[in-house]
Symmetry: C2
Subunit: 213 residues, 2 copies
DNA sequence: AGAATTTAATAGTACGCACTACAGAATCGA
DNA sequence: TCGATTCTGTAGTGCGTACTATTAAATTCT
């Protein structure tokens, strides 16, 4: 389904052409899912946000609500989520990387014109059995983010920046805690400046660590 | 509706007596809302958890799904939420109070036999318009919790424990961030021990504050 | 005992949901 | 020009939702 869609753009168009842009529609759908969550986003609202396309066009282009959601998550990771991962990898030290990660998080959680908070948190969270698939999907990405943090800390240990005695998993869990908390605070309307203050607080966790090294 | 229900227990019972205990049923309903969220909890599941009561009994006793939810939130605040507020008030110092607050939070987020995480976070937080009432309700309680933290810090300033220059609102926002983050981590299955580690990290935010005082 | 009152049980109702059947319209290749 | 192909628009389908109408059953008061 998705493969044929890729080929379609490469070979010459056959049949009646689409009246909407698939990428734009996907971007709009991502925002609806982001703002309302998987269950809260009805097909009516999605279709309206996607330029008023009708159900058959919707299903022909995206397959189902769940497939659209997964594509939206991928788009989010590729775009708004990317700076966080990039910050984690490009920081010269582990501490710099973590701070840049949190800065990037707050930045993306407070972008004007976009829903506040993290899509990976608000996209699908209620433990409703019928949506277990999508919830496990975003949960897996949250876990992957935590593992990436832990990996960066591991590098810090290997490079001698951080003490070998540091509990890397727990430290990664702490910064995931902060990111998740920032997501909720952002959604609750806390201004960006206050969130940045929280970053400073969270970075203070390093003080006992680096002074002991 | 609720007043008459209170009086009912004081005067002699008239008419056919209930076959279920209202308090027990409410407690069960709270757990369902807590685990699945307001939208995720269907009346079928609620009624089943409440001892298999039928719809008319349900509506006669609780009015509607929304009224039941509000009662469940009140019950949560009175019971599982109370130790957090109590810790905040009874700590001898502001720092002790905050630590006791976080300890109480983790304790209640990880209670065996109960849903993990915070009801005030997971009870209702999808921005779906039809549920705006209940979402604003729990959001208001989250904000009240944050104000309580800020008030305790204020007392710490007045008693000379904390510097007057401290940004109390921002500091309260930070610890709310941690609590909210812990709620999500708990729901994601992070073990209690790791959450306690995060508490230690969060308490390190005081180091620069108290050393400057 | 009998009237009054409250709950229980059965069987629904109206509505919103994700999703689809079908016929017509717009483009392509030959 | 004509058939093949792909999209569009209208009008639905079946299902799960919160909620209710109606009748019967169990208790209290007189």
């Amino acid at each position: 389904m998705l493969c044929s869609d890729i080929y379609k753009n490469q070979m010459t168009q056959r049949g009646r052409p689409r009246t909407f842009d698939r990428q734009t529609a996907l971007r709009q759908a991502m925002q609806v899912f982001w703002a309302l969550g998987y269950e809260g986003a009805t097909l009516n609202e999605l279709q309206a946000a996607m330029g008023g396309i009708a159900p058959p066009s919707f299903y022909a282009a995206f397959g189902s609500k769940e497939e659209l959601f997964r594509e939206a998550v991928e788009l989010y990771s590729r775009t708004l989520g990317a700076p966080m991962m990039k910050a984690l990898e490009e920081g010269l030290t582990a501490l710099d990387s973590i701070r840049a990660l949190l800065d990037a998080a707050v930045e993306s959680f407070c972008k004007p014109g976009l829903p506040r908070g993290c899509f990976l948190v608000f996209g699908a969270f209620n433990n409703v059995p019928s949506n277990k698939n999508v919830e496990d999907y975003v949960r897996g990405l949250r876990v992957r983010r935590q593992k990436a943090i832990q990996k960066r800390l591991q590098r810090g240990v290997e490079e001698g920046e951080l003490p070998k005695t540091l509990d890397l998993a727990a430290m990664a869990a702490f910064y995931t805690t902060v990111i998740d908390g920032l997501a909720i605070q952002a959604r609750d309307g806390v201004p960006q400046k206050a969130l940045r203050f929280s970053i400073n607080c969270a970075m203070a966790a390093w003080d006992p660590v680096v002074s002991a090294n």
